[in-house]
Symmetry: C2
């Protein structure tokens, strides 16, 4: 199989596949006489695995770690659980941060309506440093 076929079947873009090769997540495949990459179906599985992990926003280094673990079948899998737990914590923190941001933006938005001009804009006033109405105020 050439790279475009592998791309379609794995869901990874051609550029991404070459990037994963460069980063060592997949090994360099054999080549045709004309220097085109040639893949077997094993590579599709590996790339699909990577794709699944990326859809969960796991980093390439985490994924690399998971791929290496598959060659150590007797390792206790606690390390996998810990990785997912850690990743969940990061996601939870990101959600909390964004919710704070959302709240701040909503408060800010309430300071103004569309009928004013720039020099009376409650939003710009709140964003200015000498304002008594700072961004996080109610």
């Amino acid at each position: 199989m050439k790279i475009s076929e592998v791309s379609k079947r794995s869901g990874c873009s051609i550029q991404a596949i070459r990037y994963y090769e460069k980063e060592g997540l997949v090994s360099a495949p054999s080549r045709t006489e004309g220097n085109f990459r040639l893949y077997s179906s094993e590579e599709i599985e590996r790339l699909s695995f990577i794709k699944n992990c990326r859809s969960l926003d796991l980093s390439l280094s985490e994924i690399k770690h998971l791929l290496e673990l598959q060659y150590l079948p007797n390792t206790p899998c606690e390390v996998v659980n810990v990785m997912i737990d850690d990743h969940l914590s990061i996601v939870e923190k990101r959600i909390a941060d964004l919710q704070k941001l959302q709240s701040d933006l909503r408060k800010l938005r309430r300071r103004c309506n569309s009928t004013r001009s720039i020099d009376q804009c409650g939003i710009l006033e709140a964003l200015s440093p000498d304002s008594n109405h700072s961004v996080s105020d109610g």
Copy 2:
């Protein structure tokens, strides 16, 4: 004032201040004979404004736009409101995406406990492409 003083008072790092200058968010200040940047207190206000906007995760191009608007005091401020609304939409979408991700990760996590070995790991199984238990499955 030299740059470190301005950095302390505005809350922007020295590198960030130079970066904002390069990107045209603040104008190039005068220099001492020894080529050190010299600022007036006006620049602190401008940089504090930028800092406030950045804490709301507004992009530099959005901030640039807001800074330009301040020179057009008679413009209707609807454009500001729209920008904040647009930004809120993006934040809301990001939150929703992350909540989906959180849910997927939690489901995945439930597939395994720490007492297994890698070859029996329910998480790795779920991540593998030939699995009947795909990542988003209940």
